[in-house]
């Protein structure tokens, strides 16, 4: 009798599709996955209906990779459903892990988002301005839409998660290693962060580091960079010091500051507040006005600090929600 194949599902919540592409970016390894496993659900690549998942026995799936945040009732339903059907649930990518880019919506409210998008968006034709409702009666037919939540949640806010695989998107090599690790006998202890390192990015960054003093912030295109010197020392915002390593230093190696997508470094509780605390310590001025001017050189500070993790931060959301 043939060895029982691994039963897996891949699902996207509030996501951009990049995480699914990261799985495909494992290239020919995807064929090994197909040989190793039955893919029971993968909306982006494989035909499968929610009804098929609902028909599964509890714990019938060995492994589910859930990418995307939880933004609406459909995301929530699938999160709960897949949790029930899966032995292992992995929060895959920044959105499932920490709330991700969609999580920045927590800086505004539900009403504001709907009003702006469906009433005041310049691309909407006059006379066609309607806020979609969860239920609409169209000629006696009941049309249903998922309910749009007041705020964005990370997966772990909704259901217990076994592993987190960070990144926006996760590095394909890390995806491959994680699948092999979870499919194999030697699984990391539940609750672990997988596909990442137990250190921060600077530890893996080869740029030279010295004492830091910042007089001016630059966006990467605004200066001629020294390719061997720490970006932060050159005034380029780089979240590397507060961010978990594992991506392969992708951004700093190409001259862009780390955006922080792998989430807080292992000993960091709150990525954004830690970073502002560190920045505050190295801004090279004691004059309040000059400090204001230097800080003003950072566009949209909150979004930079919490680009990938607002729902998972101490702040979580704006109070006006």
């Amino acid at each position: 009798m043939a060895v029982k194949k691994l039963q897996i599902a891949l699902y996207w919540g509030a996501a951009c599709g990049g995480c699914d592409v990261a799985v495909l970016d494992t290239n020919e390894f995807i064929l090994d996955v197909a040989a190793l496993a039955d893919i029971r659900l993968w909306p982006i690549a494989v035909d499968g209906k929610y009804a098929d998942v609902e028909a599964l026995a509890d714990n019938e799936l060995d492994l589910t990779f859930f990418n995307g945040a939880v933004r609406n009732s459909e995301n929530e339903h699938l999160a709960k459903l897949l949790r029930r059907k899966s032995k292992m649930l992995v929060a895959f990518g920044s959105c499932a892990h920490l709330g991700g880019i969609p999580g920045l919506a927590n800086l505004t409210g539900r009403e504001e988002i709907l009003t702006k998008n469906y009433l005041h968006n310049p691309s909407i034709e006059p006379g066609n301005k309607k806020i979609p409702l969860p239920e609409t009666d169209l000629n006696g037919q009941l049309l249903q839409l998922p309910y749009f939540f007041k705020r964005v949640y990370r997966l772990a806010d909704i259901v217990p998660v076994d592993y987190c695989l960070p990144g926006c998107p996760p590095a394909p090599e890390q995806v491959k290693l994680s699948i092999l690790a979870l499919a194999g006998g030697k699984r990391p202890p539940p609750g672990s962060t997988i596909g990442a390192a137990e250190r921060n990015l600077c530890d893996d960054c080869q740029r030279s580091k010295s004492e830091k003093k910042i007089k001016h912030f630059y966006r990467p295109h605004e200066i001629l960079q020294d390719p061997d010197k720490c970006l932060l020392e050159q005034g380029i915002l780089c979240m590397g010091p507060v961010t978990r390593s594992g991506c392969g230093v992708r951004c700093p190696d190409t001259g862009l500051g780390c955006r922080g997508c792998y989430g807080p470094a292992p000993d960091v509780m709150d990525q954004g507040s830690k970073f502002i605390s560190a920045l505050g310590s190295i801004i090279d001025s004691k004059d309040p006005h000059e400090i204001e001017t230097i800080i003003a050189g950072i566009p949209d500070l909150t979004a930079i600090l919490y680009r990938f993790g607002l729902p998972a931060s101490f702040l979580q959301r704006s109070l006006k929600l």
Binding site: R199, N200, C202, E211, L232, A265, D267, S281
Partner: protein
């Protein structure tokens, strides 16, 4: 196992109990699951109060203790000692301040009681996460470096050397005595400054325990209390050894770098530098030392005028009083009267500050030698102009006299400006080298202005004399001897205890990003280029937390101030 915590709520007589309902706080705290025992007492800091804690620890096996009372600055040590006496680690203790933060600042008893509950609960939540910490001891090198060989430096040096300890006495000039060597007599007893100094200088030069380093400067000071390495360089313009660098080992440093006189040319309205017979107090001291009081043309002055507060007590220059000028001015009256009995002396002052021992008497005696005292207003100043050919004097001084309310004109052949004291030109450099702070006027800052006046916030660095603030010779000498005594007490112990609360860096979590490197106000952080890791020299750390907050990877932990402890405390307040 759940922590067994004892909570003690202090009435502080009626200080706390008059506003805070201590019994209600006790009842509330007793309901917390970790609290094994909760009591109130009239004075927790009293011996019976402390005994209560000691007994409960022994009888009930308490593992942690919270005292809700005054500020930790006041009594944390007291209660830590009580824990230690009962065999508990002293760090298993937390204080909730329900006096300064509740009863003293609120007048609504109900709200103050609720706040006291919240603060006590926060302390309970925090203490659960406290860890037993051990103090370290480090060896104390018995040698001392004294910087500056004025009266303060000479005094401190002798005090240490004559107690049998080795002292390096560093002086940037080529001679000993500092500013005092520029002075003739001293107020109020008119002793000779020279006599005061010569006796000390002779003792310094003949002592086998003192190494005198003239024409030398401190270049660098590394290490920490008990274990400093000082790098010194020779600064002389020529002669053997110029530019030579030398390293010495010392356990403590006394900074006695003194003051410099206020530059009178900064005050334009007295014509200093233009009117040749307008001179400063230090110009006049030179005359006195030379033994002849005369005008620039060699004539003996018939009229002398002394103007107080030049550069001091002014909005434009220094707001502070230089403390010695009033008595020095009176001394000049006596010296002029004794050398030129016929000379008519006027003394133009704002207020006569005669606060020291024997000063008021000195003022009275000066009035008796027929001195014309004229009071001018703060913010106002006398106006000096050259006299006309018909006048029998060189200059005329117009003063808006406060006591009579009249505009008075007085003659003068010689005008003495009482220039104040200001921080040395290189005070900032000195402060940076030895890692101490300066106030806005440049004076060095004490550890505590009243209770710890010669220590600084950098352990092992002491300050004495006029580098701290203007003061007279007795105060300077007292400070110098106090600093020496503090050091002798430490040398006698041989070892020095370093607080168990300090920052430490986890090698595993540190990425060598170097954000912390420049932050430490105590220079306690070192970067290891080979390991690519930073580390804290724990004996130098004062646990200020600057690096802990800044460390982006969370590698730096403040012992006794961990994130877990602080967050638990916050949660406790927000109950």
């Amino acid at each position: 196992m759940k922590a067994k915590i004892g909570v003690y709520i202090c009435h502080c007589g009626s200080n706390i109990a008059k506003i805070v309902d201590c019994e209600a706080v006790r009842e509330y705290i007793s309901t917390l699951p970790e609290v094994a025992i909760a009591r109130t007492y009239k004075y927790m800091c009293s011996n019976p109060g402390q005994d209560l804690i000691v007994q409960d620890i022994k009888e009930h096996g308490l593992q942690r203790v919270v005292v809700a009372a005054c500020s930790p600055r006041m009594h944390e040590r007291t209660f830590r000692a009580a824990l230690q006496a009962a065999g508990l680690n002293p760090y298993m203790f937390e204080m909730a301040n329900i006096r300064e933060q509740c009863s003293w600042v609120h007048d609504d008893p109900q709200a103050a009681t609720e706040k006291a509950k919240a603060l006590a609960q926060a302390a309970v939540r925090r203490v659960v996460h406290h860890e037993a910490l051990e103090q370290m001891t480090v060896d104390m090198c018995p040698n001392t470096l004294v910087i500056g060989a004025g009266i303060a430096g000479l005094t401190a040096t002798l005090e240490l050397a004559e107690a049998g300890q080795k002292v390096f006495l560093l002086e940037k000039q080529d001679h000993l005595g500092g500013n005092l060597a520029r002075v003739d007599l001293t107020a109020p007893y008119l002793d000779s400054a020279r006599d005061l100094l010569i006796e000390r200088i002779t003792r310094v030069r003949s002592s086998g325990n003192i190494e005198l380093l003239l024409n030398s400067r401190l270049q660098q000071l590394q290490g920490y209390v008990g274990n400093f390495t000082a790098t010194l360089s020779r600064t002389g313009h020529d002669g053997p050894g110029t530019g030579k660098i030398r390293e010495i080992q010392v356990g403590n440093v006394i900074v006695c770098t003194g003051y410099r006189e206020f530059a009178a040319e900064r005050v334009t309205h007295f014509g200093y530098g233009k009117l040749p017979d307008v001179i400063t107090s230090f110009d006049f001291e030179k005359m006195l030392q030379a033994g002849r009081i005369e005008c620039c043309d060699g004539t003996i002055p018939k009229y002398a005028a002394i103007i107080h507060c030049v550069g001091s007590r002014s909005a434009e220059f220094h707001g502070y009083c230089s403390r010695v000028c009033c008595m020095t001015a009176l001394k000049y009256v006596h010296e002029i009267k004794s050398a030129v009995p016929s000379c008519y002396v006027s003394d133009l002052y704002i207020d006569m500050h005669a606060f020291g021992k024997g000063h008021e008497d000195f003022y009275r005696r000066t009035s008796e030698v027929k001195t014309m005292f004229l009071m001018f207003g703060k913010g106002d100043h006398p106006i000096i102009r050259s006299a006309g050919p018909k006048d029998d004097c060189k200059m005329l001084i117009e003063v808006n006299e406060q006591l009579s309310g009249e505009l008075i004109e007085i003659p003068a052949d010689l005008v003495i400006l009482m220039v104040g004291m200001e921080a040395q030109e290189d005070a900032m450099e000195t402060a940076r080298l030895v890692n101490i702070s300066q106030d806005k006027e440049g004076w060095f800052i004490e550890s505590h202005p009243k209770l710890d006046p010669v220590a600084t916030t950098t352990d092992g660095i002491f300050i004495a004399g006029t580098c701290v603030a203007p003061k007279d010779i007795p105060d300077t000498v007292a400070q110098a001897r106090a600093a020496a005594a503090r050091i002798l007490a430490r040398i006698a112990k041989g070892k020095i205890a370093v607080d168990a609360v300090y920052a430490e860096i986890s090698d595993d979590a540190c990425s060598g990003c170097r954000i912390c490197n420049e932050l430490c106000p105590y220079s306690a952080i070192e970067y290891d280029d080979k390991k690519k890791r930073s580390h804290v020299i724990s004996a130098m750390c004062k646990a200020c937390g600057a690096c802990v907050a800044a460390c982006p990877s969370g590698a730096i932990k403040g012992r006794h101030f961990t994130d877990q402890q602080i967050l638990a405390q916050i949660e406790g307040v927000l109950r």
